[in-house]
Amino acid sequence: MAVRNTRKIVAMAGVLAVLASAAACGSSKKSGGNNNATNPVSTASSSSAPAKQGGTANVAEWPPGSSPTAIWPFMTSDQLSTQNAGQFQYYFYRPLYFVGLNDKLAVNYDMGPADQPTWSSDGLTITIPMKSTWGWSNGEKVTGQDVQFWLNMLKSEEGKPGQAGASGYYSPPNQAAGVNYLPDNIKSTTATDSSISITFDQKYNQEYIVGNALSTVTPMPLAWDVTDAKGTKGKCSTDTLTSPTLQADCDAVFKYLNTAGKDVKSFATNPLWQISDGPWSLKDFNATSGGFSITPNTKFTGEHKPYLDQVNFVPFQSQDAEWTALKAGSTGANALQIGVFPNADTPPYNGSDLQAGNPLASAGYNVEKGSLLDSIDYYQVNDGSKAHGNLFKQSYFTKALQDEMDQQSAINGPYKGWGYPTTGIVPGYPDGNPLSPAAKAASAKYDPAEAKTLMQQHGWDVSTTPATCTSPGTGANQCGAGIKAGDKAEFTLEYPSAHPAMDTMLAAYKQAAAGAGIAVNTVTKTQNTLSGELVGCSPSAPAGCNWDAILYGGWVFSLLPTTDSLLTTGAGSNIFGFSDPTFDSKVAGTIKSSDPQAWYDYESYAAGISLPLIFMMDQIWPWAVASNFHDSGQDAFQGFEPEFWYYTK
């Protein structure tokens, strides 16, 4: 299967989170804000005053409580997160293709070491030209061999999915759907100093290959092809994908680099990590607090050189602590230039005037808003739950659960207008995602009456909560397979603690669900605890059969919002026990074809089955940015691009 082409929204303070953003905007006919708000999919831009060269900026690490844990841009599944990638590694090591800058679903060819690729006439081979100007800080050029090095490393992960410490990028082939993913879908490669050509086993959606698959590839310098601290040269970078020794060669390198790459104490001192091709160098890293500083890479040869002399990423353990720092003001030696408002202190969203009610105006901060790209938020149910998995497999039941989720009221109420609804498996924002008529018709909506009717129609006595199954069986009007007479419509929903707005939203949800006879027992746990529980049910992981439903975060897609690595059978992030061969084939259709009909078929089918995701609102993050500072915000995938930040004159 392919490289995991999506990025998980990791545990974050606001969990429902998504992004924060940059300038520009999309536009939409839909309204996702509160009543007095304009379209939430609109500009969030900072000062356009002239740039001042130099200066040091202090920026709060985001979300509070998180900090980088891995520097090697070939992460294991537990390391794969935005906090490690877009908010850390990308400063130093640029992906082959960068996607999502400035809130736009597009490949940003100016941000990476490769130029726009070309395809062979048969559509099987892609040739990726490497920029002649793009080099490593040790003087070497970024070449096709550097790309091959990364691909070889991924190939060596073939037999390891599911194992502890396995790569987070690899997914096994899906034979039922007739589709392979990177690098199993590669027949051959030809790497030179100036390019790399990749021939695939069949025709694929070309946008998918560039925007989803190759955007996860990060060229690695040949200097990293070592097997120990003494610098013993490895052979992983010089192998081909079919080399019989590739597994052993790359395993040796993986073992060493993986260990070095998570040794936070040596992030800033290990000579390996000093070799970079991005616009920044790591100046220091505090292994205890997770704070770090970056300075411009003086040998950076790419576009978009930094304005600032230094950026300090300041760790905060909580939103309250960060809020205290923000209230202290935007001037002074340690003042923050960028932070995030806690939900409780966020002014009500006002699309026509974001500064209205800004509680930090006198402290010298402006309010800016996050981006809205290609993301869905949800709580996930576990089809493999030994207690209630059979309930979650019933499409009428998950539909009822969805019907009880009042996203718009949550946005208008506890989230003060800072959010937009998730309508389905394909994000409604930004414009451009191929939403079929069926998907639009099946958009998630709040309909408690329908939820109650669905339960009643399927043999549940809803006169009490939890409702009781009175008509077991698999008929159209019965409770469904595996549900016995007397079974209760109840389950436990775990969600992160210390999120008042979320408490309110889920209290309302619990109350609404009770109206349909569904007892949702809400339990709060720390984000780390929830993270530990999020494993799929299997004989080797029986703990994965214990959880019913967890609200942990959402999913940020890459260029194309397909769910190949989230929901297909055996996919690396399919921890829900969800398996539907027809669904797999529909997903494969979106990968193999750019035909809109393939997307429509996928969406139509997804709308009619019981997906293990109950969609929830996406939060737009409100940022506090010093009024004398220009902030490009975050990219579509929650990464930062500090090279665009500057003080204004």
Partner: protein, 311 residues
């Protein structure tokens, strides 16, 4: 030497007879102990006001919901954190729940638990102290050393431990607070008992074959009732406070059965947002109830103090 001239009082004459003047006969309008106590109590203006406050809260909490039907349980996401206004006189909380309605409901819990545990603590303390004082000897020593030992345990620690291990129901809280609040009354009652048990009427009763339980319940405890009532009023105040403390640190009753302490704790997490209507009403209520109980206790002590009574 002046002669005492005895005259029959005429019609409408208010001059008391000599027997009465000499205190040998009851006055014409003999005042009961209750009446004398009430007079002393009423002279204490603060206590009267405090009593009024207490009555107000009791009426508001237990009868208010019959007249005011605010939303006290349903999450209303479109009405969250509204400031006081016509539709919500005390505003709403983060779940859109009406604060006035919640204040009444929480007040019921605070007052029920406070009064019940205060009374229970007094009963336990009174009995324990009377038995220890009356029996005396090594039994008294053991019983009072036990009290000393229990008093050495920090109250808050005991409350936290018991509340967290026994569960979080109303009954448990009544028991827990009562079981940690009866020690001081025990000492007072024991002291009273030590002085009462050597009085002639107690000795006479004993000589006539009166058994210990009868002596304790018929002759000793009734004579310590003043101390007990005073202490009960203070104990109620302490119980309300203890419950509030437990709730404030998250060991109170589970929502939505918040007491005032739980409401205050919830509101205080919104201090930065200036949602004062979520903080002041429960906070002021707690303070007023505690102060009122203390003023009432002071006044009751005066009322039961014979030296302050007019005869």
């Amino acid at each position: 030497m002046d002669e005492i001239v005895v005259e029959s009082p005429g019609q409408g004459d208010n001059i008391p007879p000599t027997e009465q003047m000499l205190g040998l006969e009851p006055t014409e309008s003999a005042r009961s102990m209750f009446r004398r106590g009430l007079e002393v109590f009423l002279e204490n203006r603060l206590a009267v006001v405090a009593f009024g406050v207490l009555v107000f809260y009791v009426l508001m909490c237990f009868f208010g919901p019959l007249l005011y039907h605010g939303n006290t349980s349903h999450v209303q996401m479109d009405e969250i954190t509204l400031p006081p206004g016509p539709s919500h006189p005390l505003g709403t909380d983060q779940n859109g729940v009406d604060e006035l309605g919640k204040l009444m409901k929480a007040g019921q819990i605070s007052l029920e638990i406070g009064i019940a545990s205060g009374v229970l603590a007094s009963v336990i303390g009174m009995l324990y102290g009377a038995i220890a004082g009356y029996v005396g000897g090594w039994v008294d020593s053991i019983m009072m050393r036990t009290i000393d030992a229990l008093l050495s345990i920090p109250l808050i620690f005991a409350l936290i431990y018991l509340a967290s291990t026994l569960g979080r129901t109303k009954t448990v809280f009544i028991m827990v607070i009562a079981l940690t609040s009866w020690f001081s009354l025990t000492r007072l009652t024991r002291g009273d008992t030590l002085t009462i048990k050597v009085r002639d009427y107690v000795a006479a009763c004993r000589m006539m074959g009166g058994r210990s339980p009868r002596i304790i319940f018929r002759h000793i405890l009734p004579n310590t009732i003043g101390t007990t009532i005073v202490n009960t009023s203070l104990s109620i105040a302490n119980s309300v406070f203890a419950l509030s403390v437990l709730s404030y640190i998250g060991l109170g009753l589970q929502a939505p059965n918040d007491d005032w302490g739980g409401m205050f704790a919830n509101g205080s997490s919104y201090l930065d947002q200036n949602y004062w209507w979520m903080i002041y009403p429960p906070g002021v209520s707690i303070v007023l109830i505690i102060i009122s109980c203390n003023f009432i206790g002071d006044a009751l002590r005066d009322a039961f103090e014979t030296r302050l009574q007019k005869r």
